[in-house]
């Protein structure tokens, strides 16, 4: 499987301009022989939308004029794009749509909305309620959006649900300048991305965006690791690029023959212990931040 990671800059709130850039890169990815082209988080809208959130939101509807040209393009190559989704009740989600063969195959709604420090997503978005893998012609995949993979449980859930390729879509503002050649935010993301590939003996790719929104600079650095946790491909920092990564899916066979972590995973134990922790009074509940179930 040939993955194209479209590390792009976007126009803030400029959906039409972003769509045109998507279509151009889709052509390039296809020319480069890619099977799937992935764009970063909120690739069709820009990231720091604030009050633009509601203005650029749309339903995940095949008739939508924004999605239609993308669905047409998806007859030739699979696509994963980021957008603001609204549901019928007018809740807005930070979503990603997997498009293939002219169909919307899967929509992931970002579950963990960072609302601290420089982030304010919880103010504008509703959180998603599902983390699920899904089948494609390229195998069973899973999608997470940025903060989703800062938590360990969504990648773990995707692993159990059968995702052999995990695609992370990010819009990560660069921060933490010290003496290192990479920003602290870049180091952290690359470290955990590689760790997930190693721990889950699965492919993991993170597609980042570049460009600035006011003073925030997105660092790019798209990267893909194989099921041994080894680097497959990486994009530049801070500059746009279409980065190709060849994922040899036979590696899953070899990696899991060597290291049968998936085979040995004790999901029954996890479920039991989670149940115990969730029901234990009072510390467990407080730690999970969940109200007791009635």
């Amino acid at each position: 499987m040939r993955l194209a990671m479209a590390q792009i800059n976007t126009v803030l709130g400029g959906v039409q301009a972003n769509l045109e850039k998507h279509l151009a890169l889709i052509d390039q990815a296809q020319d480069g022989g890619a099977d799937l082209v992935v764009f970063p988080e909120l690739s069709l809208t820009g990231y720091l939308l604030q009050d633009l959130t509601a203005e650029v939101a749309r339903m995940a509807d095949p008739q939508d004029p924004l999605l239609q040209p993308l669905l047409d393009a998806s007859r030739k190559i699979d696509l994963l794009v980021g957008f603001v989704e609204t549901d019928a009740r007018h809740r807005f989600f930070n979503s990603a749509a997997y498009l293939a063969q002219g169909q919307i195959v899967h929509v992931h709604r970002k579950v963990y909305l960072p609302t601290y420090g420089l982030f304010d997503e919880g103010r504008f978005f509703a959180p998603g309620a599902e983390v699920a893998a899904f089948d494609t012609r390229l195998g069973r995949l899973g999608i997470l959006i940025c903060e989703d993979f800062w938590h360990a449980s969504p990648p773990y859930t995707l692993w159990l649900d059968g995702a052999d390729v995990m695609i992370f879509m990010s819009a990560s503002p660069g921060r933490g300048l010290d003496t290192e050649a990479r920003l602290e935010s870049a180091r952290w993301v690359e470290q955990v991305t590689q760790a997930y590939a190693s721990l889950f003996t699965t492919f993991v790719a993170n597609i980042g965006r570049v460009g600035f929104e006011d003073g925030l600079g997105f660092w790019g650095g798209s990267i893909a690791f194989d099921p041994h946790g080894e680097l497959v491909a990486r994009g530049p920092y801070l500059d746009e690029e279409l980065v190709f990564a060849d994922l040899d899916q036979q590696q899953l066979h070899r990696a899991r023959a060597r290291l049968p972590l998936l085979r040995d995973e004790r999901t029954d134990l996890v479920a039991r212990e989670l149940q115990r922790i969730r029901s234990s009074e009072p510390a467990g509940l407080r730690q999970l931040g969940n109200p007791p179930e009635a």
């Binding site: 709130g13 604030q50 633009l52 050649a181 929104e213 006011d214």
Partner: protein, 277 residues
């Protein structure tokens, strides 16, 4: 953490790449290709000018020297070094006449008032030249002076974008060295040069090196003032800096608007400046 263990060292190549990209992005998406920088002869504006020249090309940058009668002639020469080094366009517009007309009413001993007039006249000229040259005004204020409020509001603090505002003075010095800012500029005592013999460190009462370490602990590392005293900073110094930061918050924010309607600029009318670009 002990005071002696605090490091503010930065990767200057990475800073340079990010800041030149920032300048190019934020100037061009605002519909401009050119920029105007006030060049004082000091290190902050030298760094800003060099970054801007690198980002936009020297032919697209106008460096303005705006001396007052009492300004040190060295300042003018040092600014000249940067102009020569970068090849940017240059204009020298003395502010003496304009300032003197305003200073007539201000007693000589009220130095801060007089200094503010100079800073604001320079701002007015920068923005006028911005219109003539067709370039955005690039800010030169560093993180140390922004946090301490050691600036003139609507004076030297005024700009369209500020590439160096998240670098402490000591970090900016590292970047200056990497960019090749002449040694004579890097090694002289920092001064606003608003009156004879004025130096930043003399006026503030402490060195940049020391206060940057304290600010780094308080701001970047979120330590409490008590932690900072335990780390080895003097209590009185910590108190002074903490209070200075608090007292000058007004210089760091837009003027608050009294809320009356359901949607008010600054509270619940929220768009980035880059809206639509």
């Amino acid at each position: 953490m002990k005071k002696s263990e605090i490091r503010l060292d930065i990767n200057t190549a990475l800073a340079r790449k990010i800041l030149t990209s920032f300048i190019h992005s934020e100037v061009t998406r605002a519909g401009f290709s050119r920029a105007v920088v006030g060049l004082s002869g000091g290190i902050d504006s030298a760094v800003t000018c060099m970054l801007t020249a690198e980002a936009l090309g020297p032919e697209n940058v106008l460096a303005l020297r705006m001396p007052y009668a009492s300004s040190s002639p060295e300042s003018l020469d040092h600014a000249g070094l940067v102009i020569e080094l970068t090849g940017v366009q240059e204009k020298t517009l003395a502010i003496t006449e304009a300032v003197d007309a305003l200073l007539e009413q201000i007693p000589a001993e009220q130095r801060v008032r007089r200094g503010n007039i100079m800073a604001r006249v320079r701002m007015a000229i920068l923005y006028d030249q911005s219109a003539e040259f067709g370039g955005l005004v690039i800010g030169t204020g560093n993180k140390t002076e922004i946090l301490l409020g050691y600036t003139t509001q609507f004076g030297d603090a005024a700009s369209a974008i500020n590439p160096v505002g998240d670098l402490y003075k000591t970090q900016l010095r590292q970047l200056a060295e990497a960019l090749g800012v002449p040694e004579v500029i890097r090694h002289k005592a920092p001064s606003a040069d608003l009156w004879k013999g004025q130096t930043d460190e003399g006026e503030l009462g402490f060195t940049y090196e020391l206060v940057d370490q304290l600010l780094f602990l308080l701001v970047d590392r979120r330590h409490s003032p008590e932690d900072c005293v335990s780390a080895g900073f003097e209590q009185r110094f910590v108190d002074t800096v903490v209070e200075r930061m608090r007292r000058h918050q007004f210089k760091r924010v837009m003027p608050p608007i009294a809320k009356l309607s359901n949607r008010t600029v600054g509270y619940d009318f929220l768009y980035l400046r880059d809206w639509g670009t």
